[in-house]
């Protein structure tokens, strides 16, 4: 009977942690699903806040903060009226929280690349030199950490698309990166189902645009 008791307690503990884990899992799945249906800046804002709440409650998970920052950046790109500097600053605060838990992750450097781009978009003529360099460095670091990350080449391709050919950009160069991205996406397997998988369709769409 003593054995049973011990085993039951052990089981209880493991089930509880499983349940807790399950709760996290479910909440993340639900919020990621909500993220996929976001259309307006307000939607992204809400999803970002939901991820942030999960991150604040969990304290040891970096992915909620990752998604919170990503949603914030998507908001920045969607919201034409929003204050891009402010949005990028908020994203950066979330990235910092994620980085404290998970340092040197390729995905986080991609977020940094995007927040620098947001800052630049406020005043491209005056800011490209400063924030262009920050964006390039973040992208380069993301690539150096994980050269097999398809999103690295997606971001690279997008940035090349938006850079005039005489400044080292253009469709031809963008196509090379986007082809690589699409290629890598085909074989891409996330570490866990909660890890980022986004970008495949976007890469295919961009590649089609670059091939025109």
């Amino acid at each position: 009977m003593k054995q049973i008791l011990v085993m039951t307690i052990l089981l209880c503990v493991s089930v509880m942690s499983y349940a807790q884990n399950d709760k996290y899992q479910k909440a993340m799945e639900k919020t990621i699903a909500a993220f996929d249906t976001c259309k307006t800046a307000e939607d992204y804002q809400q999803v970002s806040a939901a991820f942030e709440r999960i991150g604040d409650a969990e304290k040891t998970q970096w992915l909620p903060y990752y998604y919170a920052a990503l949603a914030m950046e998507f908001k920045g790109f969607t919201d034409q009226k929003g204050d891009k500097d402010e949005i990028a600053n908020r994203a950066e605060a979330l990235i910092a929280k994620a980085e404290a838990i998970e340092p040197k992750n390729s995905e986080l450097f991609l977020l940094k690349n995007m927040s620098a781009t947001l800052h630049m978009l406020v005043d491209p003529m005056n800011r490209w030199q400063q924030y262009g360099a920050v964006a390039r460095q973040a992208l380069g670091t993301a690539k150096a950490i994980d050269a097999q990350n398809p999103r690295v080449y997606l971001m690279e391709g997008e940035s090349l698309m938006n850079t005039p050919a005489q400044f080292g950009g253009g469709k031809d160069k963008a196509r090379q990166s986007l082809e690589k991205s699409v290629e890598l996406f085909k074989a891409f397997k996330p570490v866990t189902p909660l890890h980022p998988v986004w970008g495949q369709k976007r890469a295919e769409r961009m590649l089609a645009a670059a091939s025109k």
Binding site: Q3, I4, M7, T8, L11, C12, V15, M16, A19, D22, K23, K26, A27, E42, Q45, Q46, A49, A50, E52, R53, I54, D56, A57, D85, E86, R90, K104, F109, V122, D123, M125, N126, R127, Q129, Q130, A133, R136, Q137, G140, T141, A144, I145, P164, Q166, F167, G168
Partner: protein, 745 residues
Amino acid sequence: MFVEQLAQMKNILVFLVMIFSFNLAGAQVKISGNVRDAKGRGVAGASIAIKNSYDGATTDSLGQFSFRTTEMGEQVLEVSSVGFHTIAQKITIATDLGGLRITVKEKLDELKAVMVTAGTFEAGDRKRATTVLSTLDVLTTGGANADITAAVRTLPGAQQIGDQEGLFVRGGAGYETKQYIDGTVVNNPYYTSVPDVAQRGRFGPALFKGTVFSTGGYSALYGQALSSALILESIDLPDQSTANASITPIFVGAGYQKLEKNKKVSWGANYGYTNLTAYFEVVKQKIDYFKVPQFHTADFNYRFKTKNGGMVKYYTTFSSNKLGIRRPDIDSSFLKDAFALQSTNWYNNLSWKESLGNGWRLNAGASYSTNLDNISNELQDKLNQPKTYDQQWLKDKNFSGRTRQDLSQLKTVFEKKLRGISSLRFGGEYWYAYTHSNFNNKSKELTDHFTATFAETDIYLTNNLAAKIGVRGEYSSVIDKFNVAPRLSLAYKTGKDAQASVAYGTFYQKPENLQLVQTTALGYTRATHYIANYQKANKYYTFRLEGFYKKYHDLVKTSPVYNNDGEGYAKGVELFWRDKKTIKGLDYWISYSYLDTKRDYLNYPGKLQPNFAADHTTSLVLKRWVSKISTGFNFTYSYATGRPYYNLRLDNTSMKYRIADQGETIDYHNLGFSFNYVTRIAGSYAVLVGSATNVLGSKQVFGYNYSHDGKAKEPITPPANRFLFIGLFLSWGVDRTQDAINNNL
């Protein structure tokens, strides 16, 4: 036994899972309410969360929120929103909780807070999105030829003066505007004057990250400018190492700027040589240059970050230039005036910014400059041979002069952050000015020990209401006089992006050296400014409306005797509108100034509208960037109504000046154009710039010169109808991306 146990366990497991699933699906309750600011307005996008849970919501556009939670009992509700202090509120959850009212308090924020804008055009400050004139703007103002002063002239308050350098602001003469670099005044900001030809500023726009053009009512930190202050803040560390080269038909230059790997130290040097020989061959000038203008300029900078994040910057520039021009003499049909100038200037500026901890900051600056001018004029005959006469007034046309002007300065400002974002600044400055002039072998010397002390406070009562109160005291040894100048301004935010402000201040300026060499028994000249301003500005638009009244006291009179009996006034209305958004790819601004001013000074027989003041001045600046061809096209059209001119003649019996003749010049029109094509050449970023002033070839008259007997007058016109320029500017950036990546790994 084991199987039995297993079965039992399974039961327990199922039971436990049931309990937890039940718990998970949970007894949910609804929590709702709204978030408001101190004024009772809903705060949109605020985040509400039950601490340590996943549950929460974001407020809608009215500040309403509602969410479901399974968390029960005593909980902490956290409410946060950008620009507001985060609130943690204890709540007890048992059943549905509705109508929660949460009030958040606005954070005082330097970037959001109201700022005194009366009299001030803040430009190029990257922190604020609503800048008026950035470095890039200066470079791309059509017809400004990358001259800061020329670009600033398109802003309201400044006159379109083409026959002498300087900024003539709101009825003030050119010398009433002072330039300050990193806090210290610049003694010779322009290349040395040539009669009837305006000179460029010495300092290029790329040197500065911020420009503040104040047309009045400025801070107590700045003194000795009666009308206006152009406050320039130099750049800190560059973004990367670069090499650059400039190739133009009139100018060649090269430079290198190094940013050390640690990104804490940088240094750089530039050299440029200007020679207008080839240009004058192509573009004929109205005047005969017997010495074609030539300039050598060299500069060096060294900047580093200190341990505590402070910044030390040293900048020095040396220039040497010469020219000789020959013009027909107004008193004769065959005589000519041959004017020659040779000038050298050395400028040094050292500044130090440091955080001293505990909310204290230090801004210290030192500068030294020395300027040497050799000028001469010779009366020449048809064959360009020297000619001498016995009459004194003709003799006076032959002269030679040599002037040395030195200025050494020290300035220290302490700043203490007070509660919120309020702050207190105080400090002092010391100038040692030495002038030695030798005119036709008559030597004069002036030495001035000038000291000033000042204190100023920015008080933010809320984000919406701020006051700036300052006082400045000065003592000048050369005139042995003290002065105390109070300054006051208030700003109130009237709505989103909109604010109203008022400014008042007293401003003192020493008499000019030319007057002080005659007598030092003079006092300060003085001006009182009253300014009211309304501004609405965001990233895309700027609208400003400003009215001012300025009273001049104690202006220097030079006739019948030297004294401070002069006076005057200036009043007017100014308008500025900039729009970067409405038409895609087009950035434009319009400025308009109305000025009503009269003054009695120098040899004026009474109160007159000075010859540098036009009633109406307006500028339209257009900038169109065409991405497809990587080319920007820039147009600037400036218009000013005619300015008065006078022939003031000394009456030999009464020994007083009288107006022998007067009139008004024709209206001023100037259409400037420039284009900049950006491309890559040999691995460099290359910009091909072409520009022209007065594209339409409008006739410009800046005033009249009178003959000795007063019977003949000649218009003062630019030395050529237009100035044309084409140049290629190359810049090679040393990419430090890989270093930065390696640092990250």
